[in-house]
């Protein structure tokens, strides 16, 4: 069987096809087609066919992309109405009223996705415990339907207070509207989220409705195109929670695709970790403008209950309630610009040269220095082999750009280039520390997996800075998100707001609720053999009086076990526990995974022709920090490296999409599955100790 993943990015659409039986891999890369991304996907398939992909053998197809996030960021969703409980139509516009931009006396909350004249009120009311206080007024609903027709809206979202506790009124209203408004998308908030907080749930359902018709149309097109191609297996979409969903499931809740691409990489990192026997992984992906990192514990990425769309230091953005793998993003990537602030301090990012004009060394008109220019200046990038030799880089332009900051800093061009790299690495390592040390996880217990075109250039130094066990550059680091999608399984995250003390008396109702959630999950995966459903129960708990909860995996069903799991988690996260305080559960969280075969790692046969001598492409002068000067480094071809030899740095390892740099105090091997594993001095000693 052949597994195919396609990942639509801003510039390119990547395809990777993996043959389960032979282990053969086929790639292709087409230009992303902006208007209808499915065209680019089909182009990529056609290109892969030329490289030997047989479409008849495709037994698994997964698709990730940016359609949802693009429709939102470009404000290209449909005309959407919102129906709310009477008295609350402005909740969506008011937001939370916070001013994160404290000292900007001209700040404002970003505009809502549904303007005031399209927000309609109906009389109905539930209490917090889900009791009906005021029955739904059906005439009000009929009036809303009329207004929707008059205004020619294309989608309607419904949000009633406390529908997370009792969705009856939302269901009734949705049914009436669906009857009255044929051909119009109708979404009720409880269908997407059963969590409390009315503003966040309003945003969730409004945005879901806003993109739904577009996404339905998009998946219909893609579905038809794939069928025309005679690809007749089941099609899946990559979700933001690190799992996959059928196209139909994705169309019901398109917002779950909001971080589709990045979550593919996270799924891939989890997969590589488990293949190499490491279930605790720190994953970093460095792209052109940003670096994204995630922590994977016990083989599972952390999945957040909320996603803060367009949130920045100065804007609250739009919070939505969809499960998204916890990704911390920093504005430092290969294209990030280096600049001097008014005090003469060297800064890197968050502005980026993007793909146009791109770094100065691309020769497309960029004049300001970027991280890529610094890497080229230092000799880490080869001007002739970049992007597989398709795009020669201009060293003189890179040096001229660096000189714009080196002169005012009174540094040599090389030292300024080193400084740029150091500052960029520092912001990435601060982000990596944020999700590890600051949350109570010791990096020495973790393996760092690094992907993205710009990642392997700095992976080894970051690994050393964090003192991780070892650093791994996976095979295909340049298209790792697509690869990761082949490692993802069908998955659902169902959350339910509850508010209960952890006490003997409540344990029955808690397990009852979990049983209901399992039933719901089973229905979601209808048609799947229930023996293949794997449930993970989690609960969010807090000390009574706290607002924020800690997510805890439930190891057993007794009060004692629950309490001890929570105290331990709280101690670990925040350095204290209050053993005497009352503990509350605020949310139940059921993760459901369908156990299915996913991509494996090939066992690479030793090939006698793959020797160190044959892999050595030559030597290149690299300006090294430790030596503070130019040093000749060996340059190797990754795919010709012998399996299992420990090779000392300094070294450069090249492959078509990227270059890995290994400094002089580290060493690396290519392991039997093809991963490039980098060892620091301490990790080498430690692992020898473990072996003995």
């Amino acid at each position: 069987m052949i597994r195919v993943a396609t990942d639509v990015g801003g510039t390119f659409t990547d395809l990777i096809a993996y043959d389960d039986t032979s282990g053969a891999v086929v790639f292709s890369k087409s230009l992303t087609t902006v208007d209808d991304q499915s065209v680019g996907v089909l182009d990529a398939i056609a290109m892969a066919e030329q490289s030997g992909l047989g479409v008849d053998d495709i037994g698994f197809f997964v698709h990730g992309g940016t359609t949802v996030i693009n429709a939102i960021t470009e404000r290209k969703g449909v005309k959407t109405a919102l129906v709310t409980t009477a008295g609350f139509r402005d909740v969506l516009e008011i937001g939370r009223g916070n001013r994160p931009d404290l000292y900007n006396l001209r700040t404002r909350t970003p505009a809502p996705f549904v303007p005031r004249h399209l927000r309609f009120e109906v009389r109905e009311r539930m209490s917090a415990s889900g009791q009906v206080l005021h029955a739904l007024d059906e005439e009000d609903v009929a009036r809303c339907a009329r207004q929707c027709r008059e205004q020619h809206v294309v989608a309607v979202a419904i949000i009633f207070l406390h529908s997370y506790a009792n969705p009856a009124h939302e269901q009734q209203c949705a049914e009436l509207l669906r009857k009255e408004l044929r051909g119009i998308s109708v979404c009720a908030s409880h269908e997407i989220s059963r969590q409390w907080r009315e503003y966040e749930r309003s945003n969730t359902v409004a945005l879901n409705a806003y993109v739904q018709p577009i996404i339905r149309n998009y998946f219909d097109n893609l579905d038809a195109a794939l069928h025309r191609k005679r690809i007749s297996c089941a099609y899946y979409a990559m979700q933001s929670n690190g799992g996959i969903a059928s196209f139909e499931q994705a169309v019901t809740a398109p917002l779950t695709l909001v971080e589709s691409g990045p979550s593919g990489g996270v799924a891939g990192a989890a997969r590589i970790g488990s293949e190499i026997g490491e279930t605790d992984v720190l994953y970093l992906d460095v792209g052109g403008t940003t670096a994204k990192c995630s922590l994977i514990k016990a083989g599972q990425p952390k999945v957040d209950a909320e996603y803060r769309l367009e949130k920045t230091r100065s804007s609250p953005g739009y919070t939505i309630q969809v499960p998204v793998v916890d990704i911390v993003e920093v504005g430092a990537g290969g294209g990030s610009l280096a600049w001097l602030d008014p005090s003469g301090r060297l800064r890197v990012g968050p502005q980026s040269a993007g793909s146009n004009p791109g770094p100065a060394c691309y020769g497309r008109g960029g004049v300001d220095p970027t991280v890529t220019d610094a890497k080229l200046t230092l000799g880490i990038l080869d001007p002739l082999t970049f992007a597989d030799g398709r795009m020669p880089l201009d060293v003189d332009r890179a040096r001229a750009a660096i000189a714009r900051v080196s002169l005012p800093m009174k540094l040599s061009v090389e030292q300024a280039a080193l400084a740029i790299v150091r500052v960029a690495e520092e912001s990435m390592s601060n982000a990596l520390k944020l999700i590890t040390i600051q949350r109570g996880h010791d990096p020495r217990d973790l393996v760092l997996i690094v992907s993205g075109g710009a990642g392997p250039l700095l992976a080894a130094s970051l690994g050393r800075e964090l003192n991780v066990k070892r650093t791994v550059i996976p095979t295909h680091p340049g298209i790792f998100s697509a690869w990761g999608m082949l490692a993802a399984r069908p998955r659902a995250d169902i959350r339910r707001t509850v508010l209960k003390p952890v006490s003997e008396g409540e344990m029955n109702s808690i397990s009852q609720l979990f049983a209901e959630l399992e039933q719901e999950a089973t229905e979601y995966f209808a048609g799947t053999d229930t023996a293949r459903l794997k449930f993970h129960r989690r609960a969010e708990m807090r000390y009574r009086g706290q607002e924020h909860s800690v997510s805890v995996a439930i190891s057993g069903g007794t009060t004692r076990e629950l309490l001890s799991d929570f105290h331990t988690a709280h101690q670990k996260a925040f350095s204290f526990a209050i053993m005497t305080a009352t503990v509350e559960i605020t949310m139940l969280h059921l993760q459901t995974e369908v156990l299915s075969e996913v991509i494996g790692l090939p066992n690479i046969q030793s090939d006698e022709r793959n020797t160190l001598e044959n892999a050595l492409k030559g030597r290149r002068l690299v300006f090294l920090a430790r030596e503070n000067g130019w040093v000749a480094c060996s340059v190797y071809d990754r795919n010709r490296l012998p399996i299992g030899s420990l090779i000392p740095g300094p070294a450069l390892v090249e492959e078509p999409t990227t270059t890995t740099f290994v400094p002089s105090d580290q060493a690396f091997t290519r392991d039997e599955t093809g991963q490039l594993v980098i060892w620091g001095e301490t990790s080498m000693t430690r692992s020898e100790g473990e072996a003995a």
Partner: protein
């Protein structure tokens, strides 16, 4: 290829400086994360009424995270009072607590926790965390009687007392706290959270010292302060020299309802700026006074908006600023004046400076806003007989800008990253039902070429058998000020509507009884307008009509043309 090397400056290189500064900001961020995630009190986790920071050994601010602006300039004065008190008798592992308004603090509810940081056998820094505790004893639950006449009604004061010595908690102090507050579990829970934040800061600073050495760290502190000072001076130099005067009226002090006239003179000369409150009235009877520490913070907030709204805060920015105010005014109150509602006074000090500067730098300022946090307390007993205290600041309308309409429903200047309270959460927690939460269209906004933003209406129905309501609403008579020919905004008020229909309008008010079925209607004002209403673009007026923000008739009347 030639190898060229230029040695960096002997002791200190700019890249290391940049990296250390990045680390310091992530340290204060980490402190804030721990605080919000573990706090037991809604004033902290919802309102973010806390701040964390690092100061140098002289008490000069180096790095800070704020959830709100009230603590923009309070750390220095508090740490200096710790230094004055203990001199050299502070040791590694000591932690000092202080909540005294007259020693650099704000009001007794704000507990500052200060931990000295030692490295290489010397004091190199202080880590500080200040957080609003929900109750610190005193006359009423919440410790903020709106009609207090003395600091002694506002709860327990601990003026620079060691709460830990060499990393051992001083149990007797903890006991004093426990016995003097109404919600001891919450208070001690928050104390633990605060202690954890300063401990983490200490640990992280030790890591920096371990890596770069204490000398480098201290050199980086100095460099940071110098750089910020230079940039602030440069901005002040670019402003026209002169004296800029603003006046305003505070609507009563909680005890005495009479208007209180306040004024400021801002003098810019070269690269220095002097803010002079001479001529303001003496401390008032009621609790809206602030002490000098809070005044400085209030002025620094607007100064920060002027010179560096987007940059991390540190003491260097404020070096060109001097603040003059005689002792004993309502902005420089002394013991035993009450200061419980200090932010209702200090916000006017901020707004005076804002109003004085707005005409010379319109690209940094908006017209007057609803100003007052309009804090509302609803307290009583729930069905189980347990005490509940619901406290919330209210969001309101902000003034128009020279190039756009004002913002709707934002939190007042004194707060910041402060969320409104989720209705679903309130109803799950308290015997209250929210019947409306929406834009205050009825009250309207200040008209203008650009109009003010809309305030809010929030209506509660009381479900408890009995409860009480008290509140501190300013700008109940004197509306938000306009700019450049615009019109004034609208006013704030709280109205209790009894089940029998009788209504009572309140501003700053002590506790009023309410019973099941009564309604509490909270109304915040719209912001002031900017520019003449007749210059408003017709399309903008039409859009407001379509959105239901203004009636066709009102639009006709205010904006003049046929709509």
């Amino acid at each position: 290829m030639a190898i060229e090397t230029i040695k960096p400056a002997a002791s200190f290189d700019p890249v290391t400086h940049e990296i250390i500064q990045g680390k310091l900001l992530s340290v204060v961020d980490e402190m804030a994360i721990v605080m919000t995630k573990t706090s037991m009190s809604p004033v902290i986790y919802e309102v973010l009424d806390f701040a964390c920071g690092i100061c140098n050994a002289h008490g000069e601010l180096i790095a800070q995270t704020n959830g709100i602006t009230l603590f923009t300039g309070t750390f220095g004065a508090q740490i200096r009072s710790v230094i004055d008190r203990f001199g050299t008798s502070i040791f590694p592992g000591d932690v000092i607590v202080t909540n005294d308004p007259f020693r650099g603090g704000t009001h007794a509810c704000d507990f500052a926790i200060v931990r000295p940081v030692f490295a290489e056998d010397r004091l190199i820094a202080f880590a500080i965390n200040v957080a609003h505790w929900l109750d610190v004893g005193g006359a009423i639950p919440g410790s903020l009687p709106p009609d207090a006449t003395s600091i002694f009604q506002e709860g327990l004061r601990l003026p620079c007392v060691k709460i830990a010595e060499r990393d051992e908690l001083v149990e007797s102090i903890v006991e004093i706290i426990r016995e003097n507050v109404r919600l001891p579990d919450m208070a001690i829970g928050d104390l633990h959270a605060q202690l954890a934040t300063v401990r983490i800061a200490d640990l992280r600073l030790q890591e920096v010292v371990g890596r770069y050495g204490a000398d480098t760290l201290l050199a980086s502190f100095d460099q940071l302060l110098r750089d910020s000072e230079n940039r602030a001076s440069e901005i002040i130099r670019s402003l026209p020299d002169g004296e800029y005067i603003a006046t305003d009226v505070i609507d009563g002090d909680g005890v005495n309802p009479l208007p209180i006239e306040v004024r400021v003179a801002v003098r810019i000369a070269g690269d220095s700026i002097e803010v002079d409150f001479t001529g303001c009235p003496p401390a008032c009877a009621g609790p809206i006074n602030c002490a000098r520490g809070a005044l400085h913070s209030a002025v620094k907030t607007v100064f920060k908006a002027l010179v560096a709204p987007y940059e991390p805060s540190n003491e260097g920015w404020f070096r060109p600023l001097s603040i003059l105010a005689p002792q004993g005014t309502l902005f420089t109150a002394e013991r035993p004046s009450p200061t419980g509602w200090y932010y209702e006074g200090s916000v006017h000090a901020s707004e005076l400076v804002w109003k004085a500067l707005a005409p010379i730098l319109p690209e940094r300022f908006s017209a007057g806003s609803y100003t007052s946090l309009c804090v509302t307390y609803i307290a009583g007993h729930d069905e189980a007989g347990e005490l509940f205290v619901h406290i919330e600041p209210e969001h309101g309308g902000w003034g128009a800008c020279h190039d756009g309409d004002g913002a709707n429903a934002l939190i007042a200047l004194t707060d910041g990253d402060t969320y409104n309270y989720s209705i679903e959460l309130i109803e799950a927690k308290f015997p209250l039902l929210v019947e409306r939460y929406g834009l205050n269209v009825e009250g309207g906004v200040g008209a203008g070429r650009f109009r003010g933003g809309y305030g809010l209406v929030r209506e509660y129905r009381v479900l408890a058998e009995r409860a009480e309501v008290y509140c501190g609403f300013g700008r109940t008579i004197t509306p938000p000020w306009p700019m450049d020919g615009g019109e004034c905004g609208s006013v704030n008020y709280l109205e209790i509507v009894k089940a029998d229909g009788n209504a009572l309008k309140l501003g700053r008010s002590p506790a009023r009884p309410v019973a099941r079925g009564d309604r509490v209607k909270i109304v915040t004002g719209g912001g002031g307008g900017w520019g003449a209403p007749s210059d408003r673009a017709p399309a903008a007026v039409t859009a407001d009509i379509e959105s239901g923000l203004i009636s066709r008739e009102d639009a006709q009347r205010i904006y003049g043309r046929q709509q």
